[in-house]
């Protein structure tokens, strides 16, 4: 009797021994892995605090992290130290997701089919593998060598050394390969947002591309072309809440403007200026073509004599619609409800428009600097097309490349490659075209640094950023340190088996 009387279990949490007893439990645990992606350091972002993945275009030449202490700014000017909170936040949030995935992978396998149907089991297992791969791939891209943990650890087991990039990468590919096999092509509308076969294929293509396994990219994307994805008719609309269910999206991290923990801040903005902590760089703005498909250096449509602050702003007039969908210029109305105009009074003179909310108060009365409900797209079909194009270029199989790039251009009514640059182009010329297309199509989606690293273009990007002469911003390229994140100091302090990345030692 006394034993029972003093035996009290939590009334709000499920005891570990009582978990993994039903399909519902497994589903909850899978949702928990998704929940970790909503961390500020990963995909929900911040407005004026430690940087998350959503503003990683600040590494390189697309964006300027005006609030340098958020992380990317200090990184770019070479003063960041391994104790910076950005490193530890991304690290711990990623491993949080990995630990949740490991728990699911370990336990779902052991659940008997009397508790959970084989189909459901496959779908959940596949999602856990996909998510673990996504977390690890992010770690591998930024930190390179990291501990590879694939099981639930006890505290005693937690003091692990690093694994090599190759080991981590092999695990990512193995996980994705199995996930592709197990995941369904789609879910009912009420479950929109769960990882699909397409999501896993898309991520696998990205992993292969990063590792320069171009045939792997082609193989993965070949299947993807048949899965029913297509480009969203409107480019601008895709990055608003109205575009969240678009057929272009292979995988997004979902957010909802509610009072739970589902909200994001990467689309938030102050009411005086649009999202002043991340500002489009002049070299990016100049890199968009004019509507004739030609760069501003050669297009007759470009007229630098026009005054700024008007509709005929030289950077605005006759330009790729994607520029106008992505960037605010001086005197643009950036809050449509209060008709607030952007003063251009920021160091780069430009404001980010893509993904940024354009009303001071949302439909349910929440201010624009407070949490919102914009999804962040991790993989979309335009990226698939351009990855395939890039892989084919590198394999020197050039024929299909034109149509792939043209699909992306024609969505925004830009002329085809053939019409502007011509047909029968060299591999090198097509490589430049594909890389340029990637930059303007995918700007501010957090992929730029990943691209620059793959292309060996980081140093050039630093130089382009420096050449913009933005007041108060002087990027300094440091070989190695500008390409790899240091292992967070706090982790090194608590785990003597962990060794700092050599370039940061």
């Amino acid at each position: 009797c006394s034993k029972d009387f003093t035996e009290r279990a939590s009334l709000t949490q499920i005891a570990k021994e009582n978990f993994w007893k039903s399909e519902q439990d497994a589903q909850l645990a899978i949702n928990g892995i998704y929940d970790a992606m909503q961390d500020r350091a990963l995909y929900s972002g911040n407005l004026n605090a430690t940087a998350g993945l959503t503003m990683f275009d600040c590494f390189g030449d697309n964006l300027y992290n005006n609030y340098k202490w958020e992380g990317p700014g200090d990184f770019m000017i070479g003063i960041i130290t391994p104790s910076n909170g950005m490193f530890s936040s991304i690290w711990s949030s990623s491993y949080k997701g990995i630990a949740r995935a490991n728990a699911a992978i370990e336990n779902i396998q052991n659940m008997s089919t009397t508790l959970i149907s084989q189909d459901k089991k496959n779908a959940l297992f596949g999602q856990a593998l996909f998510l673990r791969a996504l977390y690890y791939f992010n770690l591998a891209v930024y930190f390179q060598d990291v501990p590879l943990i694939t099981k639930v650890q006890t505290i005693e087991e937690a003091y692990v050394p690093k694994n090599t990039y190759q080991e981590v990468n092999a695990q990512v590919i193995a996980d994705l390969t199995e996930a592709i096999d197990k995941l369904p092509a789609s879910y009912p509308a009420t479950q929109y947002g769960y990882a699909t076969k397409g999501a896993a294929l898309g991520l696998l293509a990205r992993v292969h591309l990063y590792n320069k396994n171009y045939q792997g990219v082609v193989d993965a994307t070949t299947t993807l072309l048949t899965l029913g994805y297509s480009l969203n008719p409107s480019y601008a609309q895709l990055f608003t809440e109205q575009g969240e269910l678009s057929k272009e999206i292979l995988f997004s991290v979902r957010f909802n403007q509610d009072v739970s923990n589902n909200n994001e801040l990467f689309s938030g903005t102050f009411l005086g200026n649009p999202a002043v902590d991340k500002l489009p760089m002049p070299n990016l703005v100049k890199d968009y073509y004019c509507t004739d498909g030609k760069p501003i250096t050669s297009s007759p449509l470009y007229d630098p004599a026009q005054p700024t602050g008007t509709a005929s702003h030289p950077q605005k007039k006759n330009r790729d619609p994607r520029l106008l969908a992505s960037v605010y210029f001086k005197n643009d109305t950036f809050l449509i409800d209060t008709k607030a105009r952007f003063g251009g009074n920021v160091p780069t003179t430009f404001g980010q428009k893509k993904y940024i909310r354009n009303t001071s108060v949302s439909a349910n009365g929440i201010a624009a600097f407070n949490p919102g409900g914009q999804d962040f797209i991790v993989i979309r079909y335009a990226d698939i097309l351009l990855m395939r194009a890039e892989a084919l270029v590198e394999l020197n199989q050039l024929t299909e490349v034109y149509s792939l790039v043209n699909q992306v251009r024609q969505r925004v009514s830009m002329p085809t490659v053939q019409a502007v640059e011509g047909a029968s182009l060299t591999q090198a010329a097509l490589r430049d075209i594909v890389r340029h297309e990637r930059r303007v199509e995918l700007a501010f989606e957090g992929l730029r640094y990943f691209d620059l690293k793959r292309w060996g273009d980081v140093q050039n990007a630093f130089n382009r950023a420096k050449a913009d002469n933005v007041t108060g911003y002087s990027p300094i390229y440091l070989t190695g340190k500008s390409e790899i994140f240091p292992i967070p100091l706090g982790e090194l302090n608590v785990n003597s088996n962990l060794v700092q990345n050599p370039v940061w030692q």
Partner: protein
Amino acid sequence: FFLLLSLQSFSQSTTVSGTVINASDNTPVAGVSVVQQGSSKGTTTDAKGFFTLNVSVAKPVLVFSSVGYQTYTLSWDGSSAIAIKLEPEVAALQDVVVIGYGTQKKINQTGATQTLKLDESVNQPVTNSGQLMYGKFSGVQLTQSSGLPGADASSIVIRGVGTFGSSTPLVVIDNIQYDNLNVFNNLSPSDIESISVLKDASAGAIYGARGANGVIIVTTKKGKSGSMSVLYNNYIGFQEVTVVPKYLNAPDYATLKNEADINRNGPSTTLRYSVADIQAMRDGTDPDRYANTNWAKEILRRAPIQNHYISFSGGNDRTTYRASFGYLNQEAVVRGKFQSSRYNLSLNLNSKLTNWLSISNSSNAYWSRFTGPTGGADAITGETGIINQFQRSSPTVPVYYKNGEYGTIDGSYYSVNASFPITNAIRRGYLGDYSSDELNFANRFGININFTKDLSFETSGSFNIFNSQESDFTPRNATYDWTGQVVAQNPLNVLRNSTAFNYRLLNENILRYAHKFKDKHDVSVLLGHSVQYGRNDGFAGSLKNFPTDGLQEFNAGGVTEPNVTGGASEFALQSLFSRVNYSYDGKYLLELNVRRDASSRFGSSYRYGNFPSASAGWRISEEKFMRSINWISDLKLRASWGITGNDNIANYLYAQTYNVGLDYFLGTSIVSAAAVTTLANPNIKWETIKQYDLGIDAGLFRNSLTITADYFNRNSYDLLYSNFPIPSSIGVTNISAINAASMINKGVEVAVNYRGRIKGGLTYSVGGSVSKFADNKVTGLGDRGLESISGVSIIRVGVPYNAYYGYKALGIFQTADEVTNAPKQFNNPALTKPGDIRYADLSGPDGKPDGLVNDFDRTIIGNPYPSWIYNFNANLNYKGFDLNVLFEGIGNVDRILYDNGQLPFEGDRNNVLTYWLDRWTPTTPSAKLPRLGGYSNAIISSFYIQDASFLRMRNLEIGYSLPSALIKRIGLSKVRVFVGGQNLLTFTKLENFDPERARGRNTDQNVPLYKVYTFGLNVKL
């Protein structure tokens, strides 16, 4: 007066009749049992104290007894009237102390327990009854950290902090246990009969797992047999802050602000205030833009307080009762809607059903209500709270603009940053509505069975029910500038409501046995069993966008962002306990206690804990060789040792769980999610304190001088600590605490009291105590445990828990040469200039000074715990006049004052205290204060540590009782008027802020403490 007996003769018997009166106040006593010894004849006195009894013999032995009075036995010779007085038991209580599960004669006590007895009228204007303990106990420190009505309780620490968790002692009120001070604080002071503090392990071990922080036992007043007595006490008065901080006026502020900006940004910087602006402040020519507001003066005010109390008590020889009702109302010393009121109800019943069975019931209930502007107490504290507006609102902003709107913007700052208005403290104090209600009902029902004269059994059931409701409404609101333009607005109104329902159930069963063998071996044994169960339950909701600000309920039409949270937790405790007392011939005393507890807070392998203690005493004064020393009336040596536990930790820490409070968004709806978010510690167990105590009790000169002294040594171990190096790659960053750390507290306490009488009718007593805390430090953080630095303090082995930690300030750099020759100050030494604080280079990466002042040079800069606590008091009575004064002080204690005007013009528009007029400047170099706006002068350092020792007149009361001959005519037995005061005088070196404050960093943002002046009345019927 006398017990009057008259005689009437009958054939075979005699009739006795007479009246019984109370010896202390000469009032008749009803319900006194009058029994003829050795017969079945007996009766009771009536309402006038009169009785008639037939007795069977001519010279009977009559026994007069009544609850609350000493039994009186009279051998009546049947002829003459005899003078007797029936003494109330209160007098006997003087020598009895309340201990765990019982009482004990003070002379037989072997543990360290101190008891405070309270008069029937307690007039001290304390709003929390715990504050009655100020200055009355040795080894006990009370600290009040806020003067906000309803939130102005003091923390209580017995013999130093012995845990990293809560060091609040266990409180037992009328045998019901409470794990916080709430119920104690909300008792009506006049309901309290005694407060006992069990300090050592011997006294506390009977409470086992809950006794580690010491135990406070409170008993409430019970009824006494006799005619009904009605008591009415009141006081009315007002409160004012103990210190009003002095801030710069607007012209000085503007001048110094300009100077700070030049120091910070160079001589060519654009100045905030022009000469004309400053002149406007002096002349008052542009009050909207250049006002001269003394915010501290605007915000603080004199506030009323009143208290009323009435009790009814009485009974007969079988049943006694006491019922009381109290009311307290207190407004805040801060302008605004802040107000607190409390209603108290108490009812105690005791009844002897038969000579072997008695029952008792005590009930105690209070309803307290706090109202204020939106945010409640949050409106007042914190960075943007009202109190911090002393500094945060520049004096150049008017309280009101000429257009009637609240002032929010400094005229010059407006052109720099229009969207950054001040918090207008007066507006804040009246904006929106907040209310919180607390309802608490405690009841204990007990049954006592006397099997034999020596053996009794008591069983009791108690509950304590707590219900709270909170409602917070923020209206739509906007602030405007002097032209009427909107500066800031809040377009949505919000209602937040929350409710909590907590209860505790307790059943205790106790067997008591006491017997004296062979007239020398006095043995008593107590065996007990107790089960406790508690549950906390509650939920909170919020909703926005109501059509009107006038209706403030959820059903009033809010539509935006509905949000609900809630939860519950429970705990259970089952215990067996025993105490054995043995005394040989009244000379050699021995006491053994043991308690075995099982607590739901621990996993099955660590659920049980055993807590033994032993103590012994030697009453030297009873030895034959001492008999000849007449001036020593009483002398006792005592020693104790024991182990007590602390289970005051969170529930469920041992159990690994999946947190199902997560979620994700899919399709168009939110789905729940689950994950392990905290790593449990399955091996979690009790925190433990091992304590020994050596003491001496002496009574000299017929006990007119009493001395008690104790040395204690408290060794805490298995303390919960959570700062261990765990890689975050394990996927969880919250780790449950581990029983790893240890601490030690040592000290000496001495208390002396003297009672005397001077011819002519002056009686007096004086007393005092001194406690010296010799050693208080952390002794271990466990294997791999890391030091914890948080804000201004550190947890480090070898120094006091949470010692202040920062840089050591050596003085002020006076010349450029000094700067050049000194170790480099931080990473940007070029910014250091004459006038900046010079910090010591104490260490470096290799543990040696490295010519650079940085993180490595931080050190212990202060001790937040006092070395000394002392108090003294005096009571005088002379012909109806009485005077009661109590002083209390603490010595050698540090506080950090780091905010609210103490920093040299940090922030963009913060005011400073007036002492900054003596800052360092090139022409008036100061050796004490740095320049304004300099480099690194605002970091945490010894510069901001101040000695917060103080001596305070805690209480003063002067009363006059009207002559009883006069008031008897109108049927009253007592009328007394008094004037009183609380915290009237304070002697301290600390300026601008009250020295009594919590040890944290921003305590100067709390509501200042107040003093109270009262006038009151005590009437007894």
